[in-house]
Point group: D2
Chain length 179, copies 4
Amino acid sequence: MTQVIVLNGGSSSGKSGIARCLQAVLPDPWLSLSVDTLVDAMPLSLRSSDAGIDFAADGEVIVGPEFAKLDAAWTEGVAAMARAGARIVVDDVFLGGAGSQQRWQKRLDGLDVLWVGVRCDSAVAAAREVARGDRVAGMAASQADVVHEGVYYDLEVDTTRREALDCARAIAERVTRAQ
Amino acid sequence: MTQVIVLNGGSSSGKSGIARCLQAVLPDPWLSLSVDTLVDAMPLSLRSSDAGIDFAADGEVIVGPEFAKLDAAWTEGVAAMARAGARIVVDDVFLGGAGSQQRWQKRLDGLDVLWVGVRCDSAVAAAREVARGDRVAGMAASQADVVHEGVYYDLEVDTTRREALDCARAIAERVTRAQ
Amino acid sequence: MTQVIVLNGGSSSGKSGIARCLQAVLPDPWLSLSVDTLVDAMPLSLRSSDAGIDFAADGEVIVGPEFAKLDAAWTEGVAAMARAGARIVVDDVFLGGAGSQQRWQKRLDGLDVLWVGVRCDSAVAAAREVARGDRVAGMAASQADVVHEGVYYDLEVDTTRREALDCARAIAERVTRAQ
Amino acid sequence: MTQVIVLNGGSSSGKSGIARCLQAVLPDPWLSLSVDTLVDAMPLSLRSSDAGIDFAADGEVIVGPEFAKLDAAWTEGVAAMARAGARIVVDDVFLGGAGSQQRWQKRLDGLDVLWVGVRCDSAVAAAREVARGDRVAGMAASQADVVHEGVYYDLEVDTTRREALDCARAIAERVTRAQ
C-alpha cells in the first residue's frame, strides 16, 4: 500500500494543483503537506534572512542553517505521521537535486513511497508565475530543470500541456491499495 | 486610447491570471478590478443569503436584489475611475449573458472599451476548478457557455490550450495608446 | 442620511475590524473599501517601486507619482459609487494628515460623510503588528500619531482598550438614516 | 529545556496572535503549528462532512471518525518533530476538554511540555469573531469555557484586557533554555 506520494518539481510547475486533485480522486483521505506548510510555520525572521530562507532578486532560493535544521525535524515528523497511519502527499522542491531526495529517502525509510517528478517546460512555468502574481519572478525558470538532476522517479508527469487533474489520475492509477 | 478592458468568462476560465499578465505586459499601470473585489467588499450577510449572492450545491450562482443594487453602484464607480484617468481591467462573469453586458455598456458609455471573451472548454475549466480547490464544484461547468450567450466581443481568447500570458499578449496588441 | 463613513487611523489601529463590525451592526448593507483594496488592484510592479508604493525598512511608507494618480481616480470612483446609491465604509491611512483628508473632502463633495478618527496607543498598535505577523515592523508606531495631524473628525474612537465591535456600535449610533 | 508549548483556547481567544508573538520574542527559532494547519492539509471533502469536520449553524464543531484518525497521526508527527530537535508552539482547541489534553499528553510523552491556557471572556471573544469576519458566528462563545474543563495548565493567560504580545512575554519567561 502506497503510504507517501512525493511530488517534486520547480516553482509554478503545478505541484499544489496536482496534490489537491489527488485528494479529490483518491478514494481514501490523504493529507497534503508542502514545503510551503513548513515555511508558513517558521518565524517571520527566518522567512527572509541569511539563517533562514532568502529569495535573491533573480529568483534563486538560498537556504540557511537554521532553515535546514527545522526542515530536518519537519521531514522526520512527516514520516512519523505516515507511520502512524496517515496517507500523505508531500510536495517539495529538490533545490539540491539527488541530495534533497536522499534526505527524504532516509527519513521515509521502511515506508512505501511513490516518487513523482512534476515537469513543466521552463518558459511555460515562467508564464504561469506571471499569471499567479504572488511569486518572485525568476524562480520558475531557475528551478525548472535543476530540481530533477539525478532524482529517481517511479513516475513522471508533465503539466506543460496536461491538466493537473489528468496528471493526478495517472498518479492515482499507480497508487496501490491494501487488500 | 483603450480606457477599459472587460474580460468576461465563466468561473475557472482563467480571467484573473490574464488580468495579472495584462498588468505585467502593458506599458502603463492598469488597475485590476473584479466581481470578486465587489463580493469581498460586501457584508458577510450578503455573501451567502437570498438577498445577496448564493451558491447552490450544483454550483449555480443566485444573485438577489440587494446584491444587484450594490453591483449597479459598483459598476458606476468603476466607470468613474476610468473617466478620472485610471486605465482599468475589469473581470466579470456575465451570468445574464447579453443582459449583463448591457449593464456595463450603459455605465461605460463614452469610454473606449475593449470587450474580451475568455473561453475555456467546459471540461478543462471543471478540471482546473478541482485543482484550485477553493471554488464550489460545478460553477465552472455551469457557467462555461451561458456567460457568452449573445455577448459582443472585440476579441476572444481561449485558455484551453493557451497560457494566460499568451492570451494577455494578444489582448495587449489590441490595446491602443494615445499619441 | 450618512452616505460615506471614512475611518482614518494608522496601521494596526483596528480600522478593518471596525469596518467589518459596522457591516454587521448597521441595518442596511454597506460596502467596505480600503486603501488595501486599491493596493491589491495595482500592478505588482507598483506595489514595491519608487513610482508606486514602497515600504522602507523602518516601516515608513513612500508613495510615488503613479500611485498618487491611480489613487486620485480611485477616490473619484468611490465617490461615484456613493452617489449611485451604495453606502460605503472607507478605511484609509492619512499619511499626509490634513492634506490627505482634503483630497477625500474634494471628491466626496455634496455627500453626507461621517469622519471617524481611529486612535490606538502607539505601543499597543506596535504590539498588535507583531501579533498579526503580516505587516512591515515599524509601520504601526510610525503612523500612529502623524495620520491624525490637523484632521477634522465628527467622532473619534480608541481601540487601545475598547473592542472593535464596541467602537462600531458608537459609530453606528451616529449614522443617520433617511426618513 | 522546554520543547513544546501547547496553547489551548476557544476560537477567537487569540492563540494565533500569541503564537506569532512567541516566535518573535523567543531567542531560538520555534515552529508554529495549529489545528488549522491540519485542517488545511485535509481533503476538501473532509473539511465539511460528517466524516470530517463540520460547523453547525450555531458554531458547534463536530468532528467525525476520519478527522479523528488523521488528527491522531498528525499529533504523533508533531511529537516526532519535537523529538528530532524542532521547538514547537502548537495551538489547539480542546473541544473534548481533559480528553483532548490526554491525547496530546500520550503523544508528547517524554518531551518537556509547557501547557498554557488561553482565556478570553466569552462576550469579548464573540466580539472579536465579528471583527475577524472569517469565522462561523457562535464558535467563540460556544467554545470559550468548555475547552478548559478539567485541563491542567502550567500557566494561564487572559487576552480579554491584555495584548497578545504581553501574554507571549509572560509565557516566554516560563520557557526554560538548555544550559
